[in-house]
């Protein structure tokens, strides 16, 4: 990125004779320079409070020691750390710790008090509700519970979904919903895929005879009622809009508990060393790290926008299917295809339905677009809301 280019290019100037990429870069540099120049003419843009450092010193707790050093019990733990025979210090197990209190400035002390209360309440609930402790991570047993948080719309410009809070996401990750309900209603008993390889999921699509072959059984599916389809289509479109504009905190509100757990736990599991266990602090840190970020392009359930093309639900109801579960026994699932639509012209560039035997959608030049795939949504009880649980790309 060349920031030292002295030539000022105003937005209303004719484009340069170079490539469009060069012109774009030149335009970007011009915008940067003009806005920096304006900042220098706005006194409030440099009105850093001279006493801020004192406020910061008063408001902050000392940094924790790094893991490799001799650890001190943290102020956020309720149990002491354990030292192994190798002299390494491991944090206490998940059930013995509570999430760190969020930092706050003096003006928000009430918030700290409320948070502290919630944290204590959460800790008590965890201790009471978690089944017997083991020395292995608990994630394997909690991957199948439906989401418990119900998003509600708020007035924002693009992604009108209220983001989940860190506490709500944490509850989802530890599987509180399942623990409280003492059941698992999922159709999909295989652990969620990690990375970009989903070979086994291709058998999870509806076949011509109206069945879906799962790992351990075959289930019947049928077409959706008009109102059912409307709800599924709207849920998926809302989700895909938030892919472009929203944060993970918002997207998690639209994804099933299985998916939220997978996203947060898979990275933590990969980082574990030796007998290390996943702690609540690790989960909370990961949630807070990922939560405010937009969904990353290219990751599972992260969709790259192709310039003027937007991904949306396939509006053809006959190409979507539903498995109707039994209340309190099995969840209901819907399979729905997707399509790429030109924003400006409204032209459907490519599309696919949910059936497994459909030809792979390709562009005019013959290249495949895996993200024009099939979404599987699960119906959350008792809200009836449809949440994204799986995505099966066209590959």
């Amino acid at each position: 990125m060349n920031r030292d280019n002295d030539r000022v290019h105003r937005p209303d100037e004719p484009k340069s004779s170079g490539t469009s990429s060069d012109a774009n870069e030149e335009f970007a540099n011009a915008i940067d320079r003009s806005l920096r120049a304006s900042a220098s003419r706005v006194p409030s843009a440099s009105a850093l409070d001279p006493n801020l450092w004192e406020r910061i010193l008063k408001g902050s707790r000392p940094p924790k020691r790094r893991k490799s050093r001799q650890a001190q019990p943290s102020s956020s733990t309720t149990a002491t750390s354990e030292t192994t025979g190798r002299g390494e210090v491991f944090p206490p197990p998940i059930s013995h710790r509570r999430p760190p209190e969020p930092t706050s400035i003096p003006a928000a002390k009430w918030h700290r008090g409320l948070t502290a209360f919630l944290v204590v309440a959460l800790t008590i609930c965890v201790i009471v509700l978690l089944p017997e402790r083991t020395h292995k991570p608990q994630y394997g047993a909690i991957l199948n519970a439906p989401i418990i948080a119900t998003p509600s719309p708020i007035d924002t410009e693009n992604c009108s979904v209220e983001p989940l809070t860190t506490e709500e996401v944490y509850d989802i990750v530890i599987g509180r919903g399942r623990i409280e309900r003492q059941d698992a209603r999922t159709l999909f008993t295989t652990p969620p895929p990690v990375g970009d390889d989903f070979p086994h999921t291709h058998t999870w699509l509806p076949e011509a005879n109206g069945t879906v072959r799962l790992v351990d059984r075959t289930v019947d599916v049928s077409q959706l009622l008009p109102t059912e389809f409307q709800n599924v289509e709207a849920s998926l479109n809302r989700y895909l809009r938030c892919q472009e504009e929203g944060t993970n905190y918002q997207l998690w509100a639209l994804e099933s508990e299985v998916e939220v757990q997978r996203q947060i736990l898979q990275l933590l599991v990969q980082d574990l060393q030796g007998n290390e266990e996943i702690t609540e602090t690790m989960i909370v840190d990961e949630i807070e790290r990922l939560g405010p970020l937009p969904r990353q392009d290219g990751q599972y359930l992260g969709f790259t926008r192709l310039d003027e093309l937007r991904l949306e639900a396939n509006p053809s109801s006959k190409d979507a299917f539903i498995f109707r579960g039994k209340p309190n026994v099995t969840d209901s699932y819907a399979w729905i295809g997707s399509q790429l639509v030109n924003d400006e012209t409204g032209e459907v560039v490519m599309h696919r339905g949910a059936r497994v035997d459909e030809p792979m959608p390709v562009r005019k030049d013959g290249s495949a677009v895996p993200m024009v795939g099939v979404f599987i949504l699960v119906q959350h009880e008792p809200s009836g809301e449809w949440l994204v649980e799986w995505f099966i790309p066209s590959v």
Binding site: M1, R3, P11, D12, S21, N24, E25, F27, A28, I31, D32, S34, L35, R36, S38, A39, R41, V42, P43, S44, A45, S46, A47, L48, D49, L52, W53, R55, I56, L57, G59, S60, R61, P62, P63, K64, R65, R66, K67, T103, S104, I105, A107, N158, E244, E245, G246, T247, Y249, E288, G291, P292, L293, P294, Q296, D297, G298, T304, R305, D307
Partner: protein, 182 residues
């Protein structure tokens, strides 16, 4: 990496000292506070809120200093801006009122060219800021981080995306901005 006159040490060396003693963090504050403040101000247009957010950024940075790892492509500055971005997105967007861009712009110093030129400049700046505001969040983030002076690898590190993804998103961001402004 930026260095100031107060400390000859690089950011990473100061981090090591600050892990032992919070007050040793001061040079890092001196070095980066104004950039963080401006980053917050550019998105809030409110002096008090920008100061509060800046305080939160440094409080969180101090408390999580043990998590900082100088990995390839990442710098202390990009780590700090990642915190800043999280805080701005997470805290500020919840309470964001209608931004008083017009009132801020009307405060532009009038000590340069004639009133007509200033008026033109003011109108132009308001238009640009409105266009940036209208960008999708991730595009807006890229523009703001560029404005804060971060390099491309630092922006990629701050946003947790790859360089190709950044390049592609940046191209789309400025293309969109250009279309809006043209």
């Amino acid at each position: 990496m930026t260095r100031d006159h107060a400390s000859p040490l690089g950011d990473d060396a100061i981090v090591q000292a600050a892990l032992e003693r919070t007050a040793a963090f001061a040079p890092l504050y001196e070095r980066h506070a104004m950039a963080i403040y401006r980053y917050c101000f550019n998105q809030t247009w409110d002096v008090d809120v920008a100061n509060d957010l800046t305080a939160q950024v440094f409080i969180r940075a101090i408390e999580r200093l043990h998590q900082y790892r100088p990995l390839s492509g990442a710098t202390f500055r990009s780590w700090l801006f990642a915190i800043a971005r999280n805080i701005v997105v997470d805290e500020w967007r919840r309470y964001r009122p209608t931004r008083p861009v017009e009132s801020v712009m009307s405060g532009l110093a009038a000590d340069e060219p004639g009133p007509e030129e200033i008026a033109v400049h003011r109108t132009h700046m308001m238009t640009v800021h409105r266009a940036i505001d209208d960008l999708p969040e991730r595009y807006r983030a890229i523009v703001h981080l560029r404005l804060a002076g971060l390099t491309a690898p630092e922006i990629a590190s701050t946003l947790g995306i790859t360089m190709p993804a950044l390049k592609s998103a940046q191209t789309r961001a400025y293309r969109r901005l250009r279309l809006t402004l043209e």
